[in-house]
Amino acid sequence: MLDLALQNLASPIVLSFVLGLVAAGLRSDLSIPEAMAKGLSIYLLFAIGYKGGVEVAAAGFDMRLALALVVGVLLSAVIPVLAFFLLRVMTRLSRVDAAAVAGHYGSISIVTFVAASSLLQSQGVDFEGWLVAVAAVMEAPAIATALWLARGRSAGVASPGVPWREVLLNGSIVLLLGAFLIGWVTGPSGMAEVEGFLVVPFKGVLCLFLLDMGLVAGRNLLRSRKVLSAGPVLFALLMPLLGAGLGLIAGLLLGLSVGGVALLATLAASASYIAVPAAMRVALPEADPAVYLTLALGVTFPFNLAFGISIYLLAAQTFGG
C-alpha cells in the first residue's frame, strides 16, 4: 500500500504537478501560454480517445461497453444528488452554490483518468480500453442534475435556456468520442502509423500539462484562500472516496477487470474543472466560481492524483480480481 502510494507520488507526473503548485505558491512568474495549455489538452484527449478505440478494435466489441455507457450516465446523474445532500449538511453553501459544486463531482476529470491509467500501466494491470468512451458520456449528465437541484421547490432561480447542444457537443466530448471512433475504425494498423506521436511522447506531454495544472490550481488556491472554510474542504476530500465507492460497486457489478474497476472508481471519484465550470457560468451564473473551481481543481484533483488513484487501485485489487 505505502509502496504503491510512494511510487505514485515519486512519478514524474505527480512531481510536475507539485512543481507547478510550488511555483505558484512562491509567486514565480512561470506560466504556460494559454494556446499551449489548450494544445496540450487537445493532444491528450485525442491520444487517449484514439488508444481506447484501438484497444476495442484489437479486443473485439464487448457487450459490456453498451451496458457500461448506461451505468456511466447513471453514475454521473446520481452522484450530484449525494454530493448535494452532503454539502447541505456539511457546509453553509447556498442551494445554488451547493448544486453547482455537486454538478462538478458527478462529471469527470479526464486527466485524473489518464493519471490512473498511467499508474495501472506502470503496475502492469490491464483494463478495458473502451472505458474512455464511458468517461466521455459521464461528462454531461451531472449538469442536468445540478440544474434540477439548483431550482429546488421555489422558483427563486430563473431557469434560463440551458444550451444543451453546447453542453453535449462541447469540444472535449466530441474530441474524445471522435478520436475513439477513429481509433476503432483504423485499429492496430492505424495505430502503427501514428504511435510515434500518440504513444511515444504521451507521458512527457502529460508532465507538462500537469505542470500547467499545478500552476493554475496553485494560483487559484492563493486567490481563494479566504473563500475556503473547513466544511467545503472536508467535503472535497470525502466526496471522491464516496464517489469511488459507487464507481467500484458499479464496476464489480459490470464484471470489469481489476484495472477497469479501478478506473471506473476513479472516474466516479474525479471532479470536472473544464466542461462543468463553463456550463455553470452560462446556466447558473449566480453560483460562485471561486467555490466550485477551488474545490474541484484545488482540492479534489490533487487529492486524487496524489493519493486517490492508489487507494482506488488497492480497493479494486481487494474486492475485485
Binding site: 506560466s31 504556460i32 501560454p33 495544472m213 486567490r223
Partner: protein
C-alpha cells in the same frame, strides 16, 4: 474628410456568456461587432489571468460595436438583458466614423 457621429459600445464580458451576447447583438440590429481578447484583469472578485487556462470558464473578452447613434439605446437595452446576469462592464462613448453606411 467628412465624418459622421456614431456611438461606440464596449462590453467586457466573461467568455462563457459570449455566445449568448452574440445572439442578442445579432437580434438587436447592429451591423457588426468585433471581439478582442483580454489577457488578465482585476475586479471586485479579485485578479485573474488567461495564462495556462484550460477551461473556458474563466477569462473575459471585450466586444466592441460601433453603432448609429439612433440605434444605440435599443442595442444597450438588448445587451443589458444578457449582461445583467453576468460579470461584465458596459461602457458607451461618442465617436465619429468615416463610412456611415458601415455602422
Amino acid at each position: 474628410m467628412q465624418t459622421h457621429h456614431a456611438t461606440r459600445i464596449e462590453i467586457l464580458i466573461e467568455v462563457p456568456a459570449l455566445k449568448a451576447l452574440s445572439r442578442q447583438l445579432d437580434r438587436s440590429g447592429v451591423t457588426g461587432y468585433s471581439v478582442l481578447p483580454v489577457l488578465a484583469g482585476q475586479g471586485r472578485t479579485g485578479p485573474w489571468t488567461r495564462e495556462g487556462e484550460i477551461s473556458a470558464a474563466g477569462g473575459m473578452v471585450a466586444v466592441v460595436a460601433v453603432v448609429a447613434c439612433e440605434r444605440a439605446e435599443g442595442v444597450l437595452d438588448s445587451v443589458f438583458e444578457v449582461v445583467s446576469r453576468h460579470i461584465g462592464l458596459v461602457s458607451v462613448s461618442d465617436c465619429r466614423v468615416v463610412r456611415p453606411e458601415r455602422v
